[in-house]
Amino acid sequence: MILALDDFYILVGLLFAATAIMNLCDRTNPRRFTTALFWGLYALLYLAGSRMPPAATGLLMIAMALVAGFGLVKGGKAHLPPEETRRAGAARLGHKLLVPALAIPVVTMIGSTLLKDVRIDATPLLDPKNLTLVSMGCASMIALALACWFTRATPLQGVREARRLIDAMSWAVVLPHMLAVLGLLFSEAGVGKAVAHITTSYIAMDSRLVACAAFCIGMALFTVVMGNGFAAFPVIAGGIGIPVLVGVYHANPAVMAAIGMFSAYCGTLMTPMAANFNIVPAALLELHDKNAVIKAQLPTALPLLLANIVLLYFLMYR
């Protein structure tokens, strides 16, 4: 293929390398050496991770976690023009400012639908296995070009701004990545089997309502622990959904599956383990309380979980 995900790994690696170098040279950063080490290691893993021995990448990941975990990753002083300058820019450029921002979703959609089967000399233009991500990579580059053109800034200024945003999020950038690793390790070590064993041995499923509630709450709770509904679904569907709801109560498997997955999503709304949805946005929006997004979601997630139990109870024979 002409554009593959690996090309964008290189790009992101270079962005992290630039973040490391800019922090290293920035005397306003109180921890500039360890901060540069952290982003430098992340850059190395993106640039050369697939060519290094797995044990070495494992060690580098642990090193990154220790540097971040002991509070050694800080940001420099952010350089944004004063508010009056930004207001003047907004008045001068008007709706033009929206064009690059909206170009990101629009071009991503075009890439992942219209350009899906485009080939040049029998080689696919975009990596078919990672279509959305590669489309989004192209879209971001186009948006950057448009933004440079409209605001008369250099691409280097774009890298500086990206570094400002990465600095603001700090180690939260790497948290979803490390949680995904933990999720894979959980399944390798058999955590799912152990949970299914406990839920099925200790909860009496002899009433339909209890079975529905155990299924929905089990999905949500297991997702809270794993941070990902996709990890919970096989375990709870295999432990309760298929043997009890379908096997004993003859529920429609389509209803069981659909409502089960949505119960898992209620769990996703409630857990810091789903860091890319709950913790990263808190960092990105510069919230003081890193659990603020979860707290905003609880009044939606809990009633919805209850609604799912009721819906499953009444719709399961349809």
Binding site: T57, G58, L133, A189, A237, I242, A257
Partner: protein, 228 residues
């Protein structure tokens, strides 16, 4: 037949729960949980390191959605994108924080239900546009926002993006979750039409919209009450 299930790996979960309850640094909690789970699961140290490394390299695609738009968004912010979004929303007289976020919730959920999941997202929509507009919608009605209320509005903006995405995307037939469910049910000998699973998601999707829209109405009332 009684098979012995190794319950020791559950210690990894205990470490995660304890770590988050004690408010320890999440990255440290995760790495400690990795160590405990590996040892309790009986993995030798070298094997554990290799598992961690392989998994880390394999999941490098995860942070990409967050990282790729940053340069463009950062430049636009510098040029006044937030200020422009705020000035635009202030011109719409009937706009309130809750109404604006309800419209965003509807658009986000419907778009996701048609498979357009990239029409939104925290780095490229919520931070530069949705959250600043939600704050400005309250200020345009003459409400003085204190810092706590600003934080709450921003958190609700992020929450609205998540709710719209989650409960929209699963109604789309070609979404990964539907494929996953079909594969798992097939392995258990149940043949289920993906279209049926997508359709049976609709009652929950509608309920999710109603509950969250109601919470957004409450946010509006709360903003007005705090201003008085």
């Amino acid at each position: 037949m009684h098979t012995v299930v190794n319950l020791w790996p559950l210690l990894g979960i205990a470490v995660v729960v304890a770590g988050f309850l004690l408010r320890a640094n999440p990255v440290l909690v995760v790495i400690a949980a990795c160590g405990v789970t590996g040892i309790a699961g009986g993995l030798p140290v070298m094997h554990l390191l290799e598992s961690l490394g392989t998994a880390f390299v394999k999941t490098r695609n995860l942070p990409m959605i967050l990282l790729l738009p940053l340069a463009a968004i950062g430049l636009l912010e510098r040029a006044g994108l937030k200020e422009h979004a705020q000035a635009s929303i202030a011109k719409i007289r009937s706009a309130t924080t809750g109404r604006l976020l309800t419209v965003y919730l509807l658009v986000r959920e419907l778009a996701a239900a048609f498979g357009l999941t990239s029409l939104g997202g925290h780095p490229n929509m919520v931070r530069p546009l949705v959250a600043p507009m939600a704050e400005a919608a309250a200020e345009a009605r003459g409400v003085q926002l204190d810092e706590a209320m600003r934080q709450r509005i921003r958190a609700m903006s992020a929450a609205t993006d998540n709710v719209g995405l989650f409960f929209g995307e699963d109604v789309f037939v070609a979404f990964g979750a539907i494929v996953l469910m079909q594969t798992i049910l097939r392995a258990e000998g149940l043949e289920v039409d993906p279209l049926h699973m997508a359709l049976w998601g609709i009652p929950t999707a509608v309920t999710a919209f109603l509950i969250h829209a109601w919470n957004l109405r409450r946010l509006d009332a709360h903003i007005l009450k705090a201003a008085r």
